[in-house]
């Protein structure tokens, strides 16, 4: 620890701290533009200048100097930093004046207005007038994709966006061309960015140079009501803030959670909101004479009750979609149980995960933050870049720290970091369990990690692949005291929660495939299950939000609430229960899903034992106490993995396919979004161009 005095406050800080960190530790506020905690240090905006005694006799950029580089005073006094001295004030005013020389005065038409670092800091640290009477510099706007709108005259060349895309997102596409006054940020030949995390550059931009294109001129930050919630686009459970105006979701922003998403979110998470407004189911429908006709709630319920009556319990089934919260899954499970049915399944893709094997058999046991502790990684049948972009950024972050061998079995794809490509499918995995150089690498590691994707499990022999992966994990020492590196990466937000409450076929029950096969069940309740084809024959009750595949197949449509319109628990891939909050209301006659199920249960004569969400949660928490511990990862017993490793079974030979092929169109909300459609088309054309 090094002693340092910041504005008369003496404190001990680690010597590797920068002066800026030391000042913050002392409670002094240092303005900055280019510095960002999660990016490399550039030191080019000069806004963080402080006065240092024991350093150079000039204002010092505090972001770029270490505490250990300061000299003590002549009698051994600790170095002194002044953040409020006249020199610092003058330096800040000078820097601000230079920054504003070429910055346009277009705040009234700038989307960053109201949440602009430059605006705020000019108010706090600048002077009230300009001495600059010359012409300002103008810069041509650049096209960098459909998500980020550029207004390059506003750019102050902090290069945060360049550093983010290069370091965190792992695509070296943005760059600063030219020099001096003519420096400009652009992509090579103004091609669109290809990263799934590019929306974050708009958050990072301290001015209005990079803003969100879909949100352009839509709202002002002070008009918006902010609701803290959780994302459901993938199973990472990124923490988000939903900004609404009136009933409308205007945008989605990331929320800081070091253990989950740090402060990044994927583009699908961020730009999905236009999909919440289109293709919505806003009233019940009943299929009459082969056509869906709008109906009232009682009519729809009556149609269902008429159908359910007389059907034996084992001919009724339930499917839980990828976006369902734990509460409604629990309600559906309770309803089916009361109807005497054990046919329920949350695994639309047919992944062979079974809660009976123990919770550790389907969780991302290493935890997302734990990726940074791992020292070797094997990816089996997953493309984390598309399946969990933010998690992939965490893997890349770990890889950047060095000494992190990564192996991949599955489709050969660009993950933004290099890896050893071991093979395509089960044969390679089998070899690896026996021996192999990468197996030795894993064995040699202190905390090896095996990441198993849904691509490896959603196949008929998925159970054998899972057991094989567990066997490998145990063999290489990935499961031991204090470390469980056996990690299943999910793609559906609802999946872990549904598995936690045992929403899989019970004794003699049918699974998703059996239920949707011809002659599977007579009545099928679908809780937003859009990723599965249901064979003709079954009477399908679809409770969902969008007029997507599931609704087209439905016989009765019950309009539900999207994730922004209800309060619900979601358990992410590592087993972290998180609460999504209601930011807006469902459109039209749509209602929250649990309430619909509760009302329906009354009509069909099996009234569910709860009248409010509170009562539902009380019942849920009583049955599954770990779900009550919000934002807490309940560690799973690693014995399950060891037991799983002991099970026999050899998977069939064949390559793994990724669970996500089109990142932008994985769920009904995304498929309703014009922005996502544009991104998807762009990604396809890029893929086609690369294939040539």
């Amino acid at each position: 620890m090094a002693k340092i005095i910041v504005d008369d406050v003496e404190l001990d800080v680690p010597p590797e701290y920068t002066l800026l960190q030391a000042c913050e530790a002392a409670g002094a506020e240092i303005p900055r533009f280019c510095f960002h905690e999660r990016l490399s240090i550039a030191g080019n905006c000069r806004m963080c200048l402080v006065e240092v005694k024991g350093g150079p006799p000039k204002p010092t950029a505090s972001c770029a100097q270490n505490v250990r580089d300061l000299r003590p005073g002549p009698n051994g006094e600790p170095p002194v930093i002044l953040t409020k001295s006249p020199m610092v004030k003058k330096a800040r005013e000078g820097v601000m004046e230079f920054l504003l020389i070429n910055h346009p005065l277009d705040c009234p038409i700038c989307d960053q207005g109201g949440e602009c670092d430059l605006q705020d800091q000019a108010m706090a640290y600048g002077v009230d007038t300009s001495r600059y009477a010359e012409n300002k510099r103008a810069v041509e706007d650049k096209y960098i994709g459909p998500l980020i709108k550029t207004s390059m005259t506003r750019c102050i060349q902090c290069t945060r966006c360049v550093r983010f895309t290069t370091e965190v997102a792992g695509v070296a596409e943005l760059g600063a061309i030219g020099r001096g006054e003519d420096m400009e940020i652009t992509t090579y030949l103004e091609a669109a960015l290809s990263s799934e995390l590019q929306g974050n550059v708009a958050d990072l931009c301290p001015v209005g140079a990079l803003t969100q294109r879909p949100y352009a001129y839509h709202a002002r930050p002070w008009e918006l009501v902010k609701t803290e919630s959780v994302d459901v686009m993938d199973a990472v459970g990124s923490n988000i803030r939903i900004d609404t105006r009136g009933r409308e979701v205007m945008r989605v922003l990331p929320r800081l959670n070091e253990d989950v998403n740090e402060e990044w979110i994927s583009d699908k998470t961020r730009y999905i909101w236009d999909g919440l407004k289109t293709q919505r189911l806003d009233r019940p429908y009943v299929r009459v004479g082969g056509k869906l006709k709008a109906a009232s709630w009682p009519e729809a319920f009556a149609a269902i009750a008429a159908k359910v009556k007389g059907v034996p319990g084992n001919r009724i089934g339930g499917l839980i979609g990828d976006l369902a919260s734990v509460e409604e899954s629990f309600a559906l499970k309770s309803l089916l149980a009361s109807l005497g049915s054990a046919n329920i399944d949350a695994r639309q893709d047919g992944a062979k995960l079974d809660p009976a094997l123990g919770r550790a058999s389907y969780l991302f046991n290493a935890s997302i933050a734990g990726i940074e502790q791992a020292d070797a990684l094997l990816i089996v049948g997953a493309n984390p870049r598309l399946e969990a972009s933010v998690l992939n950024a965490r893997i890349r972050k770990r890889w950047l720290q060095g000494n992190f061998p990564i192996g991949l079995i599955g489709p050969h794809v660009d993950l933004t970091y290099p890896y050893d490509y071991l093979g395509a499918g089960t044969d390679t995995l089998l070899d690896l369990v026996g021996s192999g150089t990468f197996a030795e690498t894993l064995k040699g590691a202190q905390r090896p990690m095996i990441l198993v994707g849904q691509g490896a499990l959603a196949r008929p022999d998925g159970a054998a692949v899972l057991a094989l992966a567990a066997r490998l994990a145990v063999a290489v020492g990935a499961v031991k005291d204090g470390w469980n590196g056996f990690s299943v990466l999910h793609t559906a937000a609802s999946r872990v929660g549904a598995l936690d409450i045992g929403a899989v076929p019970g004794e003699g029950g049918l699974d998703a495939v059996a239920m949707t096969n011809p002659g599977g069940v007579d009545v099928l309740f679908s809780l937003g299950a859009d990723e599965i084809d249901i064979a003709p024959g079954a009477f399908v009750v679809y409770l969902g939000t969008h007029g997507d595949r599931g609704a087209h197949r439905a016989d009765v449509i019950l309009p539900g609430a999207a994730y922004t319109e209800k309060s619900g628990t979601y358990v992410n891939t590592e087993g972290r229960a998180q609460l999504a909050n209601r930011a807006a209301f469902p459109p039209g006659e749509a209602r929250e899903d649990w309430a619909v199920l509760r009302a329906l249960s009354d009509v069909i004569g099996h009234k569910l034992p709860f009248d409010t969400l509170g009562e539902l949660r009380a019942a849920l928490y009583k049955a599954y106490p770990h779900l009550a511990r919000i934002d807490h990862v309940e560690p799973a017993d690693p014995a399950a993995v060891i037991a799983l490793a002991g099970t026999a079974g050899t998977p069939a030979s064949g390559p793994f396919v990724s669970a996500v092929t089109d990142f932008y169109l994985t769920n009904p909300i995304a498929r309703a979004s014009a922005v996502m459609a544009e991104c998807s088309a762009l990604a396809h054309s890029r893929l086609a161009a690369a294939a040539e």
């Binding site: 070296a172 760059g175 061309i177 020099r179 003519d182 400009e184 652009t186 030949l189």
Partner: protein
Amino acid sequence: MSVRRLAPKEVQPESFAFTAENLDWAEKTIAKYPAGRQASAVIPLLMRAQEQAGGWVSEPAMRYVGDMLGMAPIRVYEVATFYTQFQLNPVGAKAHIQVCGTTPCMLRGAGDLIKVCQRRIHEEPFHVSENGALSWEEVECAGTCVNAPMVQVWKDVYEDLTPEDLEKILDAFERGEHPAPGPQNGRVTSAPVTGLRVLTSPELFDGSMVGQGAGLALAREAIAARANGDAAPSAPPPAAAAAAPPAPPKSDPAPAAPPPAKAVEAAGNADSEKPKKPVAPPPGGKAD
């Protein structure tokens, strides 16, 4: 400096590849850098690409160099737009004239050279002349301030220019010749245009003072004595040298150079007649 952009699509070549000879050179250059640091070779490689492609770096060339070094194209683009040594647009087929416009050259008449370029080549810099042979630009200091004003063409510098000299050089380039580089007023490198006035004593370089022990003080004494016309030598060897008439400077001013002005010569002599500056004592001569 102005905004530097890639040349328009129409003028970009289809592709770029090093010749076998340059490829060989490039591989050797890349090998100079430690493994994983190949990107450091981007500037030499771009420079070689520019030379091969007739004086400018095209977009395919940037991609080619980037592929060679494992760099994203944007990283090469950043380098190529940062350094003004890289021309991003086609330049004159026979010569690209870089006129230094920094203070010493400007004071010595660079403005007139620029006027010649504007008249002969194009009103604007970075534009190719009508016949496609020449182009020009104004550059910052090229480092031959003593010989100001100057222009640089490819790797050669043409110094001590007058507008007439430049015209002749441009003519020569247009004819496809390669005019002799260096000072155009006849002087050798950056030697004084008025002839040598220092380091004229041969003892300073003919080796006759070696081993005399008295060192510098003695040498100065001898020089002073000779300058004063004192024909009373004390130590024979230096005196012998001193007695010899001063040798003419080895690098005689070129015939084209004007004879040194009388006043300048007098001033030079006056300098040499005042040798009474304090002289450092020989090592060990000072008793402590």
